[in-house]
Amino acid sequence: MSIIYLLIGCSVLLALVFLAAFFWAQRSGQNDDLYTPSMRILLDDEEEPPAEK
């Protein structure tokens, strides 16, 4: 049953990775505007897209 030590360690580590990912998303402002992208996706670019910078 000592495998449990390893399993718990792994699961906690994995969960910590997700927590860190969430922190990163929050800090980099990905959750600042949760509404506009939902509208943006409905607009399609017709014509030729402007030259990329």
Binding site: M1, Q26, D33, P50
Partner: protein, 796 residues
């Protein structure tokens, strides 16, 4: 109704307004004005006509075209506006009130197509903000703003927004705290299950391992997520207030210490899951409570009403200066539709100033050379020149903001139910805790401390702390759906306690244009001309409205003219004798049945008819009358008392209507009523109400467009829902009752828990079940009850 030719109504292709003329047509598209047509042309030439395909009539009307952004070339204004700038690029964020549909979003993110110097633009739809990054070598700020203006999206640039930006936003990382608490809560729950389901003897090593892990997980919960509660409790103690934060912090602290003690001494499993759950739910409650309307500002004052800059004339050249630099002695140039930002003396030009926003008087005031013009008026007509006599912040109008009402912290004017209850709650809680401690102490010390801590754990007012935020946030979203926006949740409780309501008149209970003119009888062109020529000489408000109604006409020379105060005008023009005025003057007797103001017309002893002036009151004024006797209603108006008669329909009792009130006297009146012990709600709209709104226990600003300027207040109400005011008041009372009832529910849970706790034999499992159960009950009850109450009041 009339037989005259009925024009088919055509909506403007750009803004959707009715087209009154057919002179602006491109291809098959009709426009209401030149401005709208220009926007279409700009977009069409940039191949952005798709703008019109996403939504019908997405634009804003452009009837008013005056492009004045040259102040944006001044360096110190630029530095105040931009977010970031270097030698290459500039980043700036604008607030654009017109952002309202997907077309706006699409167009504003295509600015690059129109001008390649704009590298990047991103819309935040809910905040109505546009973030732009541009090459400042190729295009400057002024040109960017002008470009936005040209495509119909004029940014709102005001002094106050600049200042606000500098203050920055308070970030307390609440979401991160919840994430940490939730993460730990989940893990601790899993690790606690084996304990609850029972472990066999050989598994006891796991038990200690899990226990230590649990402590590890509670550390960030207590010291990161829950830190705010300890700080708040400590600050409350220092101020000798016992708020709800004290028992919460006590609960968290005791839970943590007891968990550590149990794990370290190997005497039990501790309450780690209860602790994490408690902090998690509390923080969620905090988040729910925090409802923000990004596009509405409740803190506006005169600064957001005034322009950012004003033109001054120095050495015969006019240049823009920011208001902060405007000094006494400067010579200002104010053009049509611009606001006069400081008290000044008129030097040149004919001033016709609209003070409607400052005094509530809807008719423009005429000023002549040498007269002092107070700040806040809007010039209508030709450009005028004025000399500043007082700096902006010392003006007659802005002085109001020096009143102590504006410096006073307004948040704790009224004790909330929560604050009242939690004081007694804490005292009783401590009494029970120490009672059980001393009861067991003589017989069993361990049990004594077990009981003491258990009481503090189980009675931790989690449900109580959550009932207010969840009820209030549900209530807020109900109000929000009815176009009534509250500054924060505390306002609902303040509204429930109100017993006196004071209304402003112009703009609040009357709609924008205030007076409607109707003509009874038919006037020939010649007659119209004669009447116009007579009335144009008079400064009387009604004469002005008549002139406006008749439109611009050629003025005829007058042979004789006399204006009799309060009666009317006698004039002789081109041999015609005119009598314009009240029934007494024109007909020779007083018409008693006149309910509304009328101006009679008589030409050469022949009756022509009369103009009728009716006031446009908002819908639902009858509801206001019904507020009595539950509420005392008052009317405070900056206007003269022309309308006293009419208003007695709504304000029955004498002495409840006061006219000719200055901004300061409005504030004083509110203060006097408050000193009589009344809980007062002020409903107003203009700058002249700003003081009264601030002084009152609850200030509501009524506006026809929430994006427009409205003075600082606790709540902003859309004019469309004015008739729902009584329903709002009743609903606010309902929500307070819901909070009271949910308090009873949480007390019941507390009593059940306490009956276990005082014996000193509270098992972690009981606590772990009781806490989430009570929380879920409270959340479910409050949300459901609030929505039912809203349906009952016909607000849902």
């Amino acid at each position: 109704m009339t037989e005259s030719k009925t024009l088919e109504k055509v909506a403007c292709y750009h803004c959707g307004d009715d087209c009154l003329t057919s002179s602006y047509i491109i291809e098959d598209k009709t426009f209401c004005c030149h401005g709208c047509k220009t926007v279409f042309e700009v977009l069409a030439s940039s191949k952005l006509a798709n703008y019109y395909s996403y939504n019908e009539h997405p634009g804003a009307t452009r009837a008013r075209t005056d492009k004045r952004f040259d102040y944006l070339s001044s360096a110190d204004i630029i530095t105040e506006l931009v977010d970031y700038t270097d030698s290459q690029i500039t980043i700036v964020t604008f607030f654009i009130p017109h952002i309202h549909c997907s077309s706006c979003l699409w167009l504003l993110e295509q600015l690059n197509t129109i001008n390649p110097a704009i590298h990047y633009c991103r819309v935040d739809f809910l905040k109505k903000q546009l973030n732009i990054r541009f090459d400042n070598q190729k295009i400057n700020l002024q040109e960017v703003v002008e470009l936005l203006y040209d495509i119909g999206y004029e940014p709102l640039i005001s002094l106050q927004d600049i200042i606000k930006k500098q203050n920055g936003l308070i970030k307390d990382n609440l979401v991160q705290k919840i994430a940490v608490a939730g993460f730990c809560f989940g893990n601790v729950m899993l690790l606690s299950f084996p304990e609850y389901f029972g472990l066999s003897d050989y598994e006891t090593t796991f038990k200690h391992f899990f226990g230590w892990l649990n402590i590890l997980f509670t550390l960030p919960v207590v010291f990161y997520s829950g830190r705010g509660y300890f700080i708040a409790a400590w600050q409350n103690l220092k101020q000798k207030i016992v708020g709800i934060d004290f028992p919460l912090a006590l609960g968290i602290g005791v839970l943590f210490i007891r968990t550590c003690a149990e794990v370290i001494t190997r005497s039990g499993a501790g309450f780690a899951d209860t602790l994490c759950g408690l902090v998690f739910f509390l923080l969620v409650g905090k988040l729910v409570q925090r409802k923000t309307y990004h596009h509405i500002s409740f803190e506006r004052d005169y600064r957001s009403f005034f322009p950012v800059a004003v033109h001054i004339i120095e050495d015969n050249v006019d240049k823009p200066v920011s208001l902060a630099q405007l000094k006494t002695g400067h010579r200002m140039l104010i053009r049509h539709n611009e606001i006069i930002p400081a008290d000044a003396i008129l030097l040149k030009g004919e001033a016709l100033i609209d003070f409607s926003f400052v005094t509530g008087e809807s008719i423009p005031v005429k000023k002549t050379w040498g007269e002092v013009v107070y700040a806040g008026g809007r010039q209508t007509g030709e450009a005028i020149e004025l000399e500043v006599v007082k700096p902006v912040y010392q003006s007659y109008l802005t002085q109001l903001w020096n009143n102590e009402a504006f410096t006073r912290q307004k948040d704790n004017r009224m004790q909330t139910f929560n604050e009242k209850v939690s004081r007694y709650f804490t005292v009783v809680l401590l009494a029970i805790a120490f009672g059980s401690l001393f009861f067991w102490l003589p017989t069993d010390v361990r049990r004594g401390f077990a009981a003491f801590t258990a009481v503090l754990i189980v009675a931790c007012p989690c449900a109580l702390a959550l009932s207010t935020p969840f009820t209030m946030s549900a209530a807020l979203s109900i109000f929000d759906r009815n176009f009534f926006y509250l500054k924060n949740v505390a306002v609902v409780e303040q509204m429930a306690a109100i017993d006196t309501i004071v209304f402003d008149k112009t703009g609040t209970i009357t709609t924008g244009g205030s007076q409607e003119i109707k003509i009874d009888g038919l006037l020939s062109a010649k007659e119209q001309l004669l009447i116009y020529s007579a009335c144009i000489n008079s400064t009387h408000p009604l004469s002005r409205i008549i002139c406006q109604y008749l439109g611009n006409q050629q003025r005829l020379a007058i042979t004789r003219y006399a204006e009799i105060p309060n009666l009317g005008i006698l004039a002789t023009i081109e041999g015609h004798r005119l009598r314009i005025g009240s029934s007494k003057l024109v007909l020779g007797y007083k018409e008693i049945e006149d309910k509304v103001s009328k101006v009679y017309l008589m030409l050469d002893e022949e009756m022509l008819g009369f103009f009728e002036f009716t006031h446009q009151y908002r819908d639902g004024m009858d509801n206001i009358r019904k507020l009595e006797p539950a509420y005392h209603t008052f009317l405070l108006s900056g206007d003269q008392d022309h309308e006293r008669e009419e208003l007695t329909r709504f304000f029955k009792t004498p002495n409840t209507m006061l006219f000719s009130q200055s901004p300061q006297s409005k504030l004083d009146f509110v203060q006097t009523l408050q000193q009589q012990g009344r809980q007062l709600m002020m409903v107003g709209d203009g700058l002249n109400d700003a003081g009264a709104l601030k002084q009152s226990d609850l200030g509501i600003a009524v506006t026809d467009d929430v994006n427009n300027f409205s003075p600082g207040s606790d709540a902003i109400m859309d004019g469309r829902s004015f008739h729902k005011l009584p329903a709002f008041l009743r609903f606010s009372k309902d929500t307070v009752n819901i909070i009271r009832f949910s308090f009873l529910i949480s007390l019941t849970y507390n009593l059940i828990g306490l009956s276990y706790a005082v014996t000193g034999k509270l098992s972690p499992l009981t606590a772990a079940i009781l806490m989430p159960l009570s929380t879920v009950t409270i959340i479910a009850f409050t949300s459901l009850a609030t929505h039912l109450a809203a349906r009952k009041r016909k607000l849902a």
